[in-house]
Assembly symmetry: C2
Homo-oligomer: 97 residues x 2
């Protein structure tokens, strides 16, 4: 492991990286507003292939910012509220808000 950086710095970097693409910002903004959505709803409005969208969702999920609940035959995506709250705190500190 790289021991040089603090856990906080790594968390900020991980979440910032997750927000480092406009489509993922779009998704997070949507989830902030309406709390949940389905991949299909996103796919209809976004100008990218479904598989590409799926990749972005996977990345957001991997960062911990969102979570997906299987609700057959769909998958319902929501913010991961716990991590979102953490992210708020860390970004607030960084930005001195």
């Amino acid at each position: 492991m790289n021991d040089f950086y603090t856990e906080e710095q790594k968390d900020i970097a991980r979440w910032a990286k997750a927000l480092g693409h406009p489509v993922r910002v779009y998704i997070i903004q949507l989830l902030s507003k309406q709390s949940c959505c389905y991949s299909g709803d996103l796919a209809e409005e976004l100008p990218i292939a479904r598989s590409t969208l799926s990749q972005h969702l996977k990345e957001l999920k991997g960062s911990g910012l969102i979570q997906g609940k299987i609700r057959p035959p769909k998958i319902k995506y929501c913010l991961n509220k716990e991590n979102w709250a953490k992210a708020k705190i860390l970004f607030s500190n960084l930005l001195d808000i």
Copy 2:
């Protein structure tokens, strides 16, 4: 150009991407505290090659988050206060702070 995303979404993504590596978070945190620093000072404390550091600084500069002023023979790096203020606003909105 990709017209689908708003300027705001692109700005957030650009700045988030710039913060998407622990070393760049480290640099930004430092500059938030002490407002300015030299590449050499960073190079001494960071566990990466000077050329790699230079690349990270270039990326931060490219994103608009920092700026470098030539102060021979050194280069003095500072936060770009204008963009930093913008970033604060955009991230505040996104995080609903």
